[in-house]
Symmetry: C2
Subunit: 340 residues, 2 copies
DNA sequence: AATCGCAGCTAAATCGTTACAGCGAAGTGT
DNA sequence: ACACTTCGCTGTAACGATTTAGCTGCGATT
């Protein structure tokens, strides 16, 4: 039993029959192969007792001849994330695959945030031909920067040295939010960030703060409101807590719409008006941003195009057989709505 | 060239070297295997010219010995869907996998709505040991009901005859919404549904309408507002159009929160008050439901538990080697908020 | 008595890759 | 002149499943 997973040959031995017979039975081809009913029973019984699971890799290898030998492109993401990003990435990659001449199989693989090193197939190349990795934590980025990875990999919305990536000019978005607030004459800016920061969101924050500095804005400190997690709920609690404890600001930049939604609800619940008392800017332009009250001023990244591009880059690397890296940076576009 | 995808042996022949040598070079093991630099160059060049892609199945089969021979559990979903459901299903399955003694690999496979029959690996068992299928269209359900599928499959949020499924008591949720409106003395109920209905949402609608009928509610017709798609935007447009064209109702049940969000915005934009003029009930209890203005009364399904259950059922079927079916039904729980 | 047909199997090839155990030639040391 | 090492490879056995082409008895037919 220490032999590891049960194979067809194990069943064959136990029953005392050939592996062809077992295969026929298990594939419901017993009639064609003229296997007697009692033999079928014995095979099924043995399969159940031994806990047989077909080996998918072997099956696919065998079937591969006439079937689809396509390129496997993985979208790897950590789960501790809003699914909206994943949806757009999948859509973008599909868009690329639809326009590609070669057949591409898209799979979504998941890893625990900070544990991308355990992503199956990443280090041994046994799961996919290439991958787009999104939602990495700093530990993941560090791992990716130093590890030897046998398949082409592209990092999404991160800039990892030594790797190819597709990212955004995050600082500039932050700076743009800052100048919008400054030109509106706001006096006390704040920024809402999650405790588990990601690289691009951190850069948005930095760009925002830096822009005030650069403009010699007469404020000693830009208030930083930290939310326990990247969610509506935590955004709400962080801002509620801030306001309840006597905090004050008249301009709030949330580094993600999800948190901005919570913030907007918190501000209204505190009896303050948006934008009169506090102006709010978000980032991501989720569909919901237009439908909250008031509609949210926010930045939008062309995520679908970016993902499509990332897919093209992976395929390019795949064909080059080179270890060169490529990078692409996109700008976020600001949509001004009633919240500012 | 008509041979299909390039294999290692093709490269070996072209370069005039053994396949072991090629393998060593391509796996960056050239140093250990003592392959001369010029030979490495020639191998890489040939690989590039021939467009070599390693066969993942073969690699995994080979590596399988010491590696992870785990059970592959697929979550298959159509893409024309909000990702929020997918996220919860993935989380539920992961939760189950974490508590399971045997190693389970989770993959997300996608299909085009109405084309689940083209889902790779579904008919030939070459991709996964078992699958949870969500977001099917009626055509998909029909296919699943009649097709011979070699792997255990469980349908999520659908009741497909001849298959195992995990679903919800959707009619009863609709009926509950109706009785809430009736007991509040509402006069003219309406229901907001998407044009591309799904089974559970259709049943919510039917249960809602039936409940009014059963109560001999004095209304000839329950207004049905049809949204072009299941999205905030389309929900908004449908309700705006309805109100602008002189339509009237004082109670609206949206079969999904996403559409309810659009509806709420539309009602407010039309100058009507919620719930004074129109009461609104949604379904799904998305996190955002608590943070819109007014907070939305809505139903919640324990999707994560349901998905975990579905995973357990697939594993059960896998071990039984039986073609029996199993079913589980969950009730939605109503959370009353300010929108009613 | 020889042949035929059929039931009920078996043997072996195959899919593409990797790992491991050599093997001949050239160079080095004594 | 001989053994020994190093270099630069080669040959082949797996990995686990499916498929195709048989093969062996046995009863029935001619």
């Amino acid at each position: 039993m220490a032999r590891g997973p049960t194979r067809i040959v194990d069943i064959a031995e136990r029953v005392g029959v050939s592996i062809s017979a077992v295969s026929a039975v298990l594939n419901n081809k017993a009639e064609e192969a003229r296997i007697s009913p009692q033999m079928q029973q014995r095979v099924w019984a043995a399969a159940r007792e031994l806990g047989y699971q077909p080996n998918i890799a072997a099956r696919r290898l065998r079937a591969g001849g006439h079937g689809d030998q396509s390129t496997y492109l993985a979208i790897a993401t950590s789960l501790e994330t809003s699914m909206e990003l994943l949806g757009k990435v999948v859509r973008g990659v599909q868009q690329f695959a639809a326009g590609s001449t070669e057949p591409i199989q898209i799979t979504v693989e998941t890893f625990r945030r900070g544990h991308v090193d355990k992503l199956p197939g990443l280090l041994d190349g046994t799961r996919f031909n290439g991958a787009i990795i999104a939602n990495t934590a700093p530990e993941d980025d560090e791992f990716l920067a130093t590890a030897t990875i046998p398949v082409p990999v592209i990092v999404f919305l991160r800039e990892v040295s030594g790797r190819s990536w597709v990212s955004s000019r995050a600082r500039s978005a932050g700076a743009q939010a800052a100048s919008l607030f400054m030109s509106a004459g706001r006096q006390q800016p704040a920024v809402l960030v999650p405790a588990d920061q990601t690289q691009v969101r951190l850069e948005r924050q930095e760009g925002y703060i830096q822009a005030f500095r650069d403009a010699h804005f007469p404020v000693a400190q830009i208030t930083e409101i930290v939310s326990d997690a990247f969610s509506e709920e935590m955004g709400y609690r962080a801002v509620s807590g801030f306001l309840a404890s006597g905090g004050w600001c008249d301009a709030l930049f949330a580094v993600g719409d999800i948190m901005a939604f919570g913030a907007v609800a918190a501000i209204k619940a505190a009896g303050l008006r948006i934008p009169e008392d506090i102006a709010v800017i978000g980032h991501d332009d989720l569909e919901m941003a237009r439908f909250i009250d008031p509609p949210l001023t926010t930045f939008r990244l062309p995520l679908i195009d970016m993902a499509s591009d990332a897919a093209a880059m992976v395929l390019g690397m795949l064909h080059q057989h080179r270890h060169s890296t490529a990078h692409r940076i996109y700008d976020a576009e600001l949509t001004v709505r009633a919240s500012t």
